[in-house]
């Protein structure tokens, strides 16, 4: 991948993703509020899970992109990969924030508390803090090669927490519900709930793909502006 192969402005693909996300979100909202039945024990509040779980899964996917792009950047020394990692980290933090926020709001009526130091919640909060730290590091010098290399290392090491978050509900005693779609998951989803969940997941995945492409376009524009400024300054000095 070359830096020039990154989109410089909104691409057709990005617009297609946005249109699919828009349709998917409207359909999933209609299904969530008008079609799926209430859950036996939790009543209507369980509907939070239709956006809470996809947000968590998409944050993991975004951090996986950071992991792969950071390795590729350190290996190939190509700034395009660094831009991908930076953009994906930002998106991952947005989705992790959404997952933590909606989870906390769900916990209040179900567990009676906004927050508890449960293994799943704690490891997810640590993951969020790692990548907020990553973004703070990038904010100090987005185009500095040393900062990029250091951030890549943080992005790679930080990803170690993703499987810990994912498997925390198997490894430790936890209050958090078991996985909803994993083999052996016993959350008790009806076929309506499964279909609604998959549509919501697809809609948010399209939205995240659109946001990633837009963020990459912005990152590319920013790098171009910096390059032109440097060229102009060099011309002025000559």
């Amino acid at each position: 991948m070359t830096q020039d192969s990154l989109p410089g402005r909104t691409t057709l693909l990005s617009r297609v993703f946005l249109a699919l996300a828009f349709i998917g979100i409207l359909v999933s909202l209609a299904l969530i509020f008008l079609w799926v039945p209430d859950e036996r024990q939790q009543g209507a509040v369980y509907r939070i899970f239709f956006f809470h779980v996809p947000a968590g899964l998409l944050s993991f996917a975004a951090f996986a992109v950071v992991f792969v792009a950071s390795i590729a950047y350190l290996w190939k020394n190509n700034r395009a990969w660094d831009m991908v990692a930076h953009s994906a980290a930002e998106l991952g933090v947005v989705f992790a924030t959404l997952s933590l926020t909606t989870g906390s709001i769900w916990a209040r009526p179900i567990w009676g508390v906004w927050w508890t130091w449960d293994p799943r919640l704690t490891t997810m909060l640590i993951l969020w803090l790692i990548y907020v730290g990553y973004l703070m590091l990038r904010a100090y010098g987005a185009d500095d090669t040393r900062v990029s290399r250091f951030a890549s290392v943080v992005g790679i090491i930080g990803f170690v927490d993703v499987p810990i978050v994912f498997f925390s509900i198997h490894w430790w005693r936890t209050q958090h519900p078991q996985p909803v779609l994993a083999p052996g998951g016993n959350f008790g989803l009806t076929p309506e709930m499964t279909v609604t969940f998959l549509i919501a997941l697809a809609a948010l995945a399209f939205l995240s793909a659109h946001l990633l492409l837009e963020r990459l376009a912005l990152r590319r524009m920013s790098a171009d502006v910096k390059e032109i400024r440097q060229a102009l300054s060099a011309e002025e000095g000559a």
Binding site: A44, V45, I48, L98, T101, T102, W106, V225, L232
Partner: protein, 55 residues
């Protein structure tokens, strides 16, 4: 499980509202960055035109 009998629907709508508020904040953040970059590009174009005229 101990569902709060007070107002479970309030929590449901609060969660969905929070979800979209976070998204809109991020969208506004991106739009502001984009307009700042466009302004930078316009300024650079003007500067380059100015230089061409002088040359």
């Amino acid at each position: 499980m101990n569902p709060d009998p007070m107002n479970p629907l309030g929590y449901l709508f609060a969660a969905f509202l929070a979800f979209w508020v976070v998204f809109f904040i991020y969208a506004i953040f991106m739009a502001r960055r984009q307009s700042k970059l466009r302004a930078d590009i316009e300024a650079l174009k003007k500067e380059m035109d100015e230089r061409k005229r002088k040359a």
